[in-house]
Symmetry: C2
Subunit: 247 residues, 2 copies
């Protein structure tokens, strides 16, 4: 079995009906770095018309998809299986949210086990017998009054949580400060310039001056100014000081 | 402004084009208990044909949707705003993943602040000016080679993470053991019955007997048997013992 990429869970769809759900599943997998898709007994056979169009750039997932006639065959080589269900099944199984479930999966994948996640049919989900082939259940923490997630959304959430659990939730970019935080000396110098200009403008009522100065300095502290910010602000102050007084 | 329900973030869509994206957004909001939707300058006006059909049971979100001509007006009453972007914007802003961003938002909501999350146009996202109206950026930890999430999926992930951050990620059901863990006495009694039956069946090669017994006991320990499990197993053993020997 070549699709069980080391350290990544396999996504298994049981008798999916709609081509767009399969395409959107592939796309959701691609979003979070999953590429192993197995389909059990797809309605209408495989390849299925309409799947590629909804897979966006994730056609590599479709190209590697393997199809099985039954669930036991699709699970045969796996060591740990999670079954996603919306309804309680009366089985004495561990029930995880996506975060706990994928943390469990990530640990086993890291130990070299092959892990699969079962997703059921659009309308009726998984049968109780199919659930009994899994080690544990994953269910989603949805509002019970508005609980219906579509297939691709369920796959998306599990993919997202896998990426987090596996420590791969790297953001494509980070916030970058263009220059480092300003040294205190620059800040103090700015305070003194600003306060001197405001004094000259008669801004502070004498009884309130000290309190207002402290409050304004606090605002600047909360700004967490960089050296560039201080330079920018000082330039603005100088421009204001040079401007002819308003009539 | 009546839509800023206490303690829940407002979802703001900027110039969304497709009715189904708005409907699917409302549905994703409903899944995770969000109900405050604001739309800035929807293409083709509001109400928009085709939205209700894709909203599933979340029509309450659509009924409460408010529409604004500009982004500043949509943000006016909010105290903290996150902007979702896929691309780096060259602004000196904090960049969060969905989990950090919603943890930040949950803290502020708990403190009584109104929080909003901005989502951009399907094709071009948010403008840099619109991003500059936000406190921080949220971006998704997607695989850079397959980075495109649709609008409703972005809303879904933020809704999921809000629910987790706000401590509301309650699963609709939990795993339930029908009876408590078996007391050691019951386990030991089971071991003795099983080992006695296997001895009588000549199962153990003498040189390996002790090791095999220990290994099998270990399997049963890993089963974490309940009292019911022990009873079930003992009943199966008795049935096997009563069965006539095979020819």
């Amino acid at each position: 079995m070549t699709d069980s990429s080391p350290n990544r869970p396999v996504i298994i769809l049981v008798e999916p009906q709609l081509a767009e759900n399969i395409g959107m599943t592939a796309r959701a997998m691609g979003n979070f770095g999953l590429d192993a898709l197995r389909i059990v007994n797809p309605k209408g056979g495989w390849p299925m018309k309409g799947v590629r169009e909804t897979a966006s750039s994730a056609t590599h997932v479709l190209d590697g998809t393997t199809v099985f006639p039954t669930v036991p065959e699709a699970l045969a080589d796996l060591h740990y299986v999670l079954a996603t269900t919306a309804r309680e099944r009366g089985q004495m199984k561990r029930v995880f949210g996506p975060d706990e479930g994928m943390a469990e999966a990530a640990g086993r994948l890291a130990a070299g086990e092959k892990v699969g996640i079962l997703f059921g049919r659009e309308r009726v989900g998984l049968s109780n017998d199919e659930v009994s082939l899994a080690d544990a259940i994953v269910t989603f923490p949805v509002d019970p009054d508005h609980a219906s997630l579509n297939l691709a959304q369920s796959v998306l959430l599990m993919g997202y949580e896998w990426r987090r659990a596996a420590g791969r939730a790297v953001l494509p970019f980070a916030g970058a400060m263009r220059s480092g935080p300003a040294p205190r000396e620059a800040l103090i110098s700015l305070f003194e310039s600003l306060e001197s200009d405001l004094d000259a403008a008669g801004y502070y009522p004498p009884a309130k001056r000290d309190g207002m100065i402290r409050n304004m300095r606090d605002m600047f502290h909360r700004m967490a100014m960089t050296e560039q910010d201080v330079r920018t602000f000082r330039g603005a102050l100088r421009a204001l000081a040079r401007r002819p007084p308003e009539e």
